[in-house]
């Protein structure tokens, strides 16, 4: 073999091996650790791209719900399918701390999964402020960086024009930065994989059929199909408070939380959280929501905006006018004939035992939501 041919063969082999190794490390080492909650807090922060791919392969008639943990906790895709006459498959791809500004990163993959209908959760966080003084903001940037690094791009996606200049400085928008961001998970993933495999250490969270909310079963798992329709749910904190006057903290230890305190200072503090309040003016989050809606509509995908209620005690405690921007925006969307708006926020038939805390639905709430939403869905897609 000539020397130049040898050099070419060496280089080509090296590149192929790098690609193979990357694929193996991504799939066998990093992704399982992202899914099982060992790194990056919530498995669901990493599962949506695979979810869209799974949906496109497994369903001819999918309906996809997106939104925050409130949508994750209320949308039981299995129950809805049982009650619906549409024959559609219902998938729940919501995740905690979702914002339109974050979700727009996934929009092309969502469209590629070819849904008949996309149900978008609406709430105060849909219009909340994105500001670096807001406590969750770094998490938002981290989360966006994470999503970007999961699907690195060489050509600029159209959502980039909605990213603010300040954020563009912080986000990995160059290809190598995206690859680098993803590779940063390598060390921790290897370390924990060695620990689990060789030390026989148990996974930190249960990923079985009735698993922990932080864990997502792998797509190869037999639990996955159920999971993507009806994900693992949060424990019913409110019922626990009512029964025992305590809350179990993240270390598994109970601490005192009588109902008066829970609906007193605890609620008051929670209600002040900017995430649970619209900014009150049009902002980049709202722009991103419109971008998502426009993209879906222009791809002939039906869109339903659903206002999911909060615990009625919290809604009663809101200052007058605090969520006016939410109400005004919802009524504006109602005038858009291309989309369907279902606002359950202010309905008074949601008692507090339909909630597992201040914001998330309990099993009763889920079932009630199912009964209310299924017919609306059927009206659109049947």
């Amino acid at each position: 073999m000539g020397e130049n041919k040898e050099l070419a063969l060496s280089t080509i082999t090296c590149i192929i091996v790098i690609l193979l190794c990357s694929q193996i490390i991504d799939e066998q080492i990093i992704k399982p650790r992202l899914y099982d909650g060992t790194i990056n807090q919530l498995g669901r922060y990493s599962f949506t791209y695979d979810g869209y791919e799974y949906i496109s392969e497994e369903s001819d008639f999918p309906v996809i719900a997106i939104g925050t943990s409130r949508m994750r906790e209320i949308f039981d895709g299995i129950s809805i399918a049982e009650n619906s006459s549409s024959g559609a498959d219902f998938f729940n791809l919501a995740y905690g701390m979702d914002l339109p500004y974050i979700r727009m990163i996934e929009i092309d993959y969502l469209i590629d999964s070819n849904p008949a209908l996309v149900i978008i959760e609406m709430g105060p966080s849909s219009f909340s402020k994105l500001d670096d003084s807001v406590w969750h903001y770094n998490r938002t940037i981290d989360f966006m960086s994470h999503l970007i690094s999961m699907k690195p791009f060489l050509t600029e996606p159209d959502w980039l024009e909605y990213i603010s200049d300040a954020d563009a400085d912080k986000l990995p928008l160059k290809y190598m930065e995206q690859k680098g961001h993803w590779a940063d998970y390598g060390q921790e993933s290897f370390e924990s994989t060695i620990e689990y495999e060789f030390n026989n250490t148990e996974l930190p969270y249960d990923c079985g059929r009735n698993g922990h909310v932080r864990c997502v079963p792998l797509t190869s798992s037999q639990d996955y199909d159920n999971y993507i329709r009806y994900p693992f749910q949060l424990p019913n904190v409110l019922a626990h408070v009512k029964a025992t006057g305590t809350i179990i903290n993240s270390n598994g230890n109970p601490y005192s939380m009588p109902l008066e305190k829970y609906y007193g200072p605890y609620l008051n503090k929670s209600i002040e959280n900017p995430y649970h309040n619209p900014e009150g003016v049009r902002n980049i989050n709202h722009d991103a929501l419109d971008f998502i809606i426009e993209k879906l509509v222009s791809n002939n995908i039906e869109v339903m905006l659903v206002g999911i209620p909060y615990n009625p005690v919290l809604l009663d405690r809101l200052e007058d006018g605090k969520w006016d921007y939410y109400n005004q925006s919802m009524s504006q969307y109602s005038e858009d004939s291309r989309i369907t708006v279902v606002d359950l926020m202010w309905e008074d038939d949601w008692p507090d035992d339909y909630f597992s805390d201040l914001a998330h639905a309990s099993r009763n709430g889920e079932l009630y939501f199912t009964s209310k939403i299924t017919s609306k869905i059927d009206e659109i897609i049947v």
Binding site: M1, E3, N4, E6, L7, L9, S10, T11, I12, T13, C14, I15, I16, V17, I18, L20, C21, S22, I25, I29, I30, M176, K179, A183, D184, G186, Q187, E188, F190, E191, I194, E195, F198
Partner: protein
């Protein structure tokens, strides 16, 4: 702030390919154009790495070129000496001001504080120009060699400027002798695919050693010697010393590998700087394997002029101690480097005289291979002890660490050790074990890099691909600067 060096992606994506294309392809194989292009790109590299300090390099270049030419042209010993003195004083003056002035002032203030309770002198806070210790020694050796009539001066200023500024070795060596470099560039630079693959292998080896090994073990060494907690734990101190020893070797030899590899791509062969130093079985053996270009420089321009080994035992002790003390100080303006040099000087002296003691000689004759293993173990214990001194500048951490290293007042607590170490433990331990295995076997394979270069292309591609992938995924999020950039 790092602008351009061997761990920035820009070096591999833009700078090195640009230099390769501009030097090897656009110059039509004309040597003068090639050298001019190399010089321009070397100055660009230095400017991107160190900014206005490039002026110091240019001053050194012009001065040593002039001094070399004048010394070579004159038969008058007075003139020759005057030019040599001018060159040495200017070079050492620049080095002294930028590297040691603040250290001298600080030391003076320390003494002053002790006796008068006042600080007398303000320090200047001068930034150390990148690579100043390396290119100063390199250009100094040029004038000294001409003065000693060991070589003729360069005919072309362009060639000499290229020698002084050649970017692969400019910042952290190896310290190349002028005669060696001249031979490398006397014909038009050319590259064949065998050399190209060797160059690539060296670069890949360097990247892996730096990012996968050095930077990972550095996290452990730093957590032990920067935080300075639980310094009485023998396990922790030994682990810290081991990690730092591996870090400094992999960090520095990585730089050298990348430098030599980059030079290969441009058709220039630079000398080796390391030969599996942790396989050394004596202190003398260690210095034949560690930073070879510096140790031979110190031998030729310091140890021998100071008396060397042929003028009696006392003279030799003096020459050895002075050489190692100054060698230590060359690394940086700090007393721990001086102490490191002293420890190595003492080790060399003990070894020099110890090996002549009859019962020690008989012991190693009788024990054969076991004796070699014992000798290797003792050597490496002291080498790693010395690395600990090299690493720790803070004496409140260094002194207890030194005591604990030899078990004085120390204890061993594995649980405590694990609790003190950073989160990534198993992976680092695996990297350490892998390094020890590879370091031990690479000598037998005739140098891992050479072994790999000779493999079939598919094997070469597979091994390099796996190494690069692991490096990409297992490097720490933060890449540390090369340690020898500071020197």
């Amino acid at each position: 702030m790092r602008f351009l060096d061997f761990v920035t992606i820009d070096y591999y994506l833009f700078f090195l390919p640009a230099v390769f294309i501009l030097t090897m392809w656009t110059t039509l194989g004309v040597r003068r154009y090639q050298i001019s292009m190399l010089l321009i790109m070397s100055y660009l590299f230095f400017w991107l790495a160190s900014g206005w300090h490039i002026i110091l390099l240019m001053i050194s270049t012009c001065l040593d070129w002039t001094a070399g030419s004048k010394i070579d042209a004159s038969e008058d010993d007075f003139v020759r000496k005057r030019w040599l003195r001018t060159s040495l004083i200017t070079n050492l003056g620049i080095l002294g001001i930028f590297k040691y002035l603040d250290f001298i002032l600080d030391s003076f203030n320390l003494i002053s504080l002790k006796f008068t309770d006042t600080v007398e002198l303000d320090t200047y806070g001068l930034l150390l120009p990148v690579g100043i210790s390396f290119y100063t020694f390199q250009t100094m050796s040029y004038t000294i060699d001409i003065y000693r009539k060991k070589m003729k001066s360069y005919d072309s200023f362009l060639d000499f400027a290229c020698y002084a500024a050649f970017f692969p070795q400019l910042v952290a060596g190896p310290i190349v002798r002028a005669d060696h470099f001249r031979k490398e560039i006397e014909r038009p630079l050319s590259i064949d695919s065998a050399k190209f693959r060797l160059g690539l292998t060296l670069i890949i080896y360097g990247i892996v050693k730096k990012l996968l090994i050095a930077d990972n073990v550095a996290v452990h060494a730093n957590s032990i010697f920067l935080e300075g907690e639980h310094l009485a734990n023998i396990g922790l101190i030994w682990w810290g010393a081991l990690c730092f020893g591996i870090q400094i070797y992999c960090d520095f030899s990585a730089y050298t590998d990348i430098a030599i590899g980059s030079a290969y791509l441009l058709g220039v062969k630079l000398p080796e700087n390391f030969k599996t130093p942790y396989a050394a079985t004596s202190p003398q053996d260690f210095w034949r394997r560690w930073h070879i270009s510096l140790s031979t420089w110190l031998r030729d321009y310091l140890y021998i002029p100071l008396g060397g080994s042929r003028n009696g035992a006392n003279r030799m002790i003096f020459a050895l101690l002075m050489t190692m003390l100054l060698g230590g100080l060359w690394h940086g303006a700090s007393w721990n480097f001086v102490l490191w040099g002293l420890v190595h000087g003492l080790l060399l002296i003990v070894h020099r005289f110890g090996k002549d003691i009859s019962f020690i000689d008989s012991f190693f004759n009788i024990t054969g291979r076991l004796g070699i293993v014992i000798s290797w173990f003792i050597t490496q214990v002291f080498v790693f002890f010395a690395w600990m001194i090299f690493r720790v500048e803070d004496k409140s951490i260094l002194i207890p660490s030194m005591k604990t290293f030899f078990g004085y007042g120390g204890h061993f607590d594995f649980e405590e050790m694990l609790n003190c170490l950073p989160e990534i433990k198993l992976l680092t331990a695996m990297i350490v074990v892998l390094f020890i295995l590879l370091h031990g076997t690479s000598g037998k394979l005739g140098g891992g890099k050479m072994w790999l270069t000779r493999r079939h292309p598919i094997i070469w591609g597979t091994i390099c691909g796996v190494m690069l992938s692991l490096t990409f995924y297992l490097r720490p999020a933060e890449t540390a600067d090369f340690i020898y950039f500071r020197f």
